[in-house]
Symmetry: C2
Amino acid sequence: MHCYTKNCLSFIRYNPLRNSQAFHRPAYCSQKITTTEPSSPNVRTEIPGPKSRQLLKELDRIQNTGAVQFFADYDKSYGNYLVDVDDNCLLDLYTQIASIPIGYNHQSLIDAVKNEDNLSTFVNRPALGCYPPRDWITRLQTSLLAVAPPGLSEVQTMACGACSVEHAQKAMFIAFQRRKRGGAPPTQQELQSCKTNELPGTPNLSVLSFKNAFHGRTMGALALTHTKPMHKLDLPQPKWPIATFPMLKYPLEDNVRENQAEEKRCLEEVEDLIETWKKKSEPIVGIVIEPIQGEGGDNFASPQFFQGLQDICIKNDICFNLDEVQTGCGVTGLFWAHEHFNLKQPPDIVTFSKKMLTGGFFYRSEYRPQEAFRIFNTWIGDPSKVVLLEAVIKVIKRDNLLNRVSEIGNYLWPEVEKIQEKYPDLISRVRGLGITGAVDFPSPDERNKAISKLLSKGVNTGACGESSLRLRPTLTLQKQHVDIFLDRLNSVCQEMS
Amino acid sequence: MHCYTKNCLSFIRYNPLRNSQAFHRPAYCSQKITTTEPSSPNVRTEIPGPKSRQLLKELDRIQNTGAVQFFADYDKSYGNYLVDVDDNCLLDLYTQIASIPIGYNHQSLIDAVKNEDNLSTFVNRPALGCYPPRDWITRLQTSLLAVAPPGLSEVQTMACGACSVEHAQKAMFIAFQRRKRGGAPPTQQELQSCKTNELPGTPNLSVLSFKNAFHGRTMGALALTHTKPMHKLDLPQPKWPIATFPMLKYPLEDNVRENQAEEKRCLEEVEDLIETWKKKSEPIVGIVIEPIQGEGGDNFASPQFFQGLQDICIKNDICFNLDEVQTGCGVTGLFWAHEHFNLKQPPDIVTFSKKMLTGGFFYRSEYRPQEAFRIFNTWIGDPSKVVLLEAVIKVIKRDNLLNRVSEIGNYLWPEVEKIQEKYPDLISRVRGLGITGAVDFPSPDERNKAISKLLSKGVNTGACGESSLRLRPTLTLQKQHVDIFLDRLNSVCQEMS
């Protein structure tokens, strides 16, 4: 994986994308919404422009606006292009923090909202756990279950990524304690004490996470998150074990032995922590890990590393829980990133959100709670998001988007490497799989400058890690988009060196 | 409050509801969706019926179905009536765990979804904190800010109730530590240590909650929740202070002195806990409380109790955080339940979700984080839900629903009291404010039997607390609905006594 072969670029010569159905003209045109993609970005003002700045001032009376980049005009945006309120038209390679699957205003999504059959789903949000809609099973089958990770056939919907991680974590604790009881029911003392957060009903258990991991911002998810101080500062947290995520050296082919040693060391650390925390009587019930660390810096590890982790989980009878919130939905060229790992059995839990439009998690049946109301809340997801996901999955299949993602990745990253070769003092650690990946700059300041310069040239990208610039485009990214990015990145590097 | 005056029933004679616009015929009819409310329930099968049972079997292959009551046909449901897949037509007084504001398939919501101007909002879900839509400020002004609790003008959207409670809690911790630093920036040691959940960046702080409270099911929200064991069992939790929520004796007018003493005792307990936890070096940063405890048993306390709590918070310089997830959006006859409390200043934080269709929280400006990305996630809410909320608020104002809720409550609860007088061994502690309230049965079994019998007679209600039956109808509840409920409750009591 992510050693893209440089000899599979033949597709570009034949350019099957020319006949793609992804951006076919709609059968009927909406009055308001743009229905064609521009041929290139167009920047008219500084960004944020005057209109965005005015709106920023107004919004700042209502809430903190420190994270706002600009105000967007979603009616005018289309495909891979995001238009802001100052009419700046940007090639969007960050796409709402990696959460737009097939581009803005895709006709299939518009059709799904306009379809009378779906109307009551958008109007009446049910308490899904109590009164599911008539067509709920069919909906699950044509959406989530149609793309379930190999070997997993159970799924729980949730509203967002953090909730998915939280409830998946609860499933881990519940299964661990059930195994521990060996089939016996909980004691009266357990049932009573848990209501006031006391032993034994509220047990001392822990979850192992990794340095630089990001899993969300609610307490249970944030406990596993170890990225920026501003995500974590001042917030009480359980003090659970944290292992080192391998920090691979690039180019991979020149650092094979060193990287293997690094991964071996990390696996040993995991095993040590499991032993230590068992002795501390706060046993680890499972390992939560991203197949590719996103927010923490687009850190990759090898399939062998993940195989090793799974082996450790099997050996210790604990849960192997993969957080695919940012890596799922096809961005690596396979629907789930862990499909690249050639695991000996399915992961125990796979969480998702972002491009999937609904949160949730797949799980092996031993992680299904036996009792009602344990993994539960009022909404536990939203059927209207599943309607949209259904449309997304149809497009992914119809337009063969997974193959296209692989092909475009095989074109993109070697080209970025060429820029790295030209500017070795500026760009390093080029890494990517499919359309997801990043490059490093020498410092956070230089990374920020590069992002800002790219934006002023009409290309929207994102930051991650200490000094990485990440790409998170849609699955409909094509060669012409990549070429624009490469051109602008080249200019930026020239200006900065 | 909730001492409904028995002499304000004159509205029923004049029946302004006859001219109500709430259920006006739509301008155009959807092909699929029912557009009139039936005149009474109609139960054709046992519930769940054969079709629901078949679907239950199928869904059980995918996930735990222990909480599923029946499968619903949302196309056929309308107003206060929910139709199931076996064509049972039920008067719904539980309405998706209190989360349907103005009835099923309300024409205003259908219009909002069909409105071309809103289309791109349903299709493109933005990362609201980074790229808010052009009309976001206007949307906030015509929805959330139009119903902001008196004195509060800042708001943060979130996806659901638990996320709202979690992030509101984070705002409490952040503000507490900022005050403690007295304007100084965090130290390098704090910034570094928080990344691995260690002191001093991850401080020992606590939040005070109440017995029988319910605030959600993610770790930080669940830490404040003390209801059923199945919500809590096996899940690690911070061990934070828990005070007693007053358990009032009914009828209130016969227990004035006893109830005052109970509330005084509870307030003293809160003050004691604040002192104790200060000494333990895990200071309480704030109090989180429901204006009316919902899941925990529809427990009311007096305005004086909440005034006393706020005084304690002011005196100790800690946060007074009201969880209005189940009590907001007009169900008490005022938009927010705490408006009944005559507080000397606004609460510091008010969380919401359920009938508001979007989660979020209002807050006093000192609870606004000064830095970006602290109260943040990918979506932080969903503008398409705010579009629906905007329509709901227009209907609430146009149809004067808050007044109607007060009036219908003034009719409903005295009538339920009459049934209590007829069946004093079966029903006790009748309590309600507006359309939200409950009655107690002698045991959980009898409560469950009553709910089940009501369902078989076409009325859907819910359970709460140990042995309470709760009502959570829509804001469009009318006298004819109440009369059906009263008739069926009478029959059930007759059968059970």
